[in-house]
Symmetry: C2
């Protein structure tokens, strides 16, 4: 009989994770069944999202149930297999458990990539979830353009350090926000970020005013709370905010600083897109819209209602109707007769 | 000498617009100069954004200065011209003033479109700013797909009524939120929306639970505040929120209900895009990312730092480092030796 060591969720943490929220046990390790492999874990990845999984707040996959093994990213080696695609000795990475051994299903884990010539920890720390997060979050959502200013919070962390470097590759001015002089030195001197802001010893807003006097184009947001607020206040028009994490809020019990947390957490957990717009932004394409609207109108598929009021001299009263809901349809003042 | 009637901003409103915030005067109308035309206004469009222009809060174009004519959308007829492209008699629409006559510059106003066979008020109320707003906001940002559920607030208003009808044309289930039975009847019976919610007489959240039991895919947001919050709470994964207006907040003096207004107003005024994401959403493209990251790594353009801690039995302590900033680099637990 094989045994394994495993962490189980004993109770949901309240606020900070506390001793006793998780329990460490030794237990029997069952053998793999058809399509499964037994993996000896080499590295367990600890990530901010672990705290979400421990809670029963709204989240993007089922929470870990109390009593169940704690979920975590792992990489390791197949030590026994009944899965043809996962022969013994294969290095794999994927979602597993906080455990010395885990059973994985074929197709649910990936063979480790990019291992050649790289320490396994670096390969896992680059090509695992963090590298994917940085890559798609910045490139697909952030849409970085050369010359733009990119701010990354939690900049020395697993995701942040890769985001900033991809930003540099794409020609951005990169400002990282990190805690402490050592991390700030690391991201500028070792990783080549243009600037670092030490949020533990500096006013983030004042530092941004100094380092990004022309504003911020992309906020790769890992943190939330007052740091996010300071960046948001300095965003340029048409800025993009890949909302990757809100680590400052995960241990909060109720309302957080800097606004209602429910809004931002909902946007993150449900992967919503919110885009502010002003109609004049689309001015070059107005004729396209007019042609289509005209066609729908001609086909009887579109009708509109106006609320036409008489007399320019009463415009100051009429405008108030909008805020009380007193108008019914598009509100117009007839200033002179139409024909 | 010609005279005109014009509204000027006498002082910035505090809260609701008050008598005396605007003053109505008669004054001399100067003649057009080269490149300009004099327009007799037929319709003045009153829009929620008027209240923003009266204030000095952050906004997307300069506020109207105290003492200046109040800005507004107009349509009217050229009555005298020194602009070759705007001959006398031309019907034009664009940004003007709350006035009986306005001087317009060639290129800054558009000839009226879609007028044939349509009352001028309807043409202006469809092809003016409201139609453009509805068209691009819904189609470009909302990305409606057949079978999806679209919620429109201020649904009987100038923009809302067009948004809902385009939603129907695109095959969406459309739920409009409006105030009062008459408006609710109008949007369902006259415009063909599937459902209406009377926010003045119904609990919006409860009504959404009943009418959209499978959640909301698109929230065309005109209102903000508690109505927005009720919709946001019921958004489906990957939902889109074209953030068009926050009319419930424009008369507010300080904090509003339903969260910090500054966040949402900033997103609107600066046309920011916020998109929540979870890395697994991109799983089908992980190999693309791995190939690119591997190349950058091989070229020496990317480096990463791991913070490798020893011993699975201490994982419960290690995970706390993430929330205190105690780790430095991607946090990994070495569970067994890597090779």
């Amino acid at each position: 009989m094989t045994t394994r060591q495993v962490w189980r969720l004993a109770r949901r943490p309240e606020g900070d994770i506390d001793k006793g929220d998780l329990t460490f046990t030794e237990e029997e390790q069952r053998a793999p069944e058809a399509g499964e492999a037994l993996v000896e874990v080499i590295y367990l990845s600890l990530d901010p999202t672990n705290r979400i999984w421990m809670s029963d707040r709204e989240q993007y996959m089922p929470p870990v149930e109390v009593g169940d093994p704690m979920r975590g990213g792992i990489c390791g080696r197949v030590v026994s297999s009944r899965a043809p695609g996962l022969p013994e000795g294969t290095l794999v990475a994927g979602l597993g458990e906080w455990a010395s051994h885990v059973i994985v299903e074929e197709g649910k884990v990936s063979p480790m990539r990019g291992v050649e010539g790289l320490p396994l920890a670096a390969a896992f720390g680059t090509f695992g979830g963090v590298g994917m997060t940085a890559y798609f979050g910045l490139l697909d959502i952030g849409q970085p353009q050369a010359g733009e200013t990119l701010v990354v919070s939690a900049a020395a962390g697993g995701v942040g350090q890769i985001v900033g470097q991809i930003g540099k590759i794409k020609g951005c001015r990169v400002i990282g926000i990190a805690g402490g002089a050592e991390k700030c030195r690391f991201i500028t001197e070792d990783l080549g970020f243009d600037h670092a802001i030490d949020y533990k010893n500096e006013d983030v807003g004042a530092a941004l005013d100094r380092l990004a006097p022309d504003g911020v184009d992309i906020d790769f947001e890992n943190v939330g709370g007052p740091i996010m607020q300071a960046v948001l206040e300095r965003m340029n028009n048409f800025g993009r905010i890949p909302l990757c994490g809100l680590i400052s809020q995960y241990n909060e019990r109720g309302e957080t600083q800097g606004g209602a947390p429910a809004y931002w957490e909902t946007m993150l957990m449900r992967r919503l897109t919110v885009r502010g717009f002003i109609v004049t932004d689309f001015a070059p394409r107005f004729s396209e819209a007019a042609a289509q609207l005209g066609q729908w109108l001609a086909e009887g598929r579109l009708t509109t209602r106006q609320d036409v009021r008489q007399g320019l001299d009463r415009a100051d009263d009429y405008v108030k109707l909008l805020y009380s809901g007193g108008n019914f349809g598009k509100l117009l003042v007839e200033v002179s007769p139409p024909a």
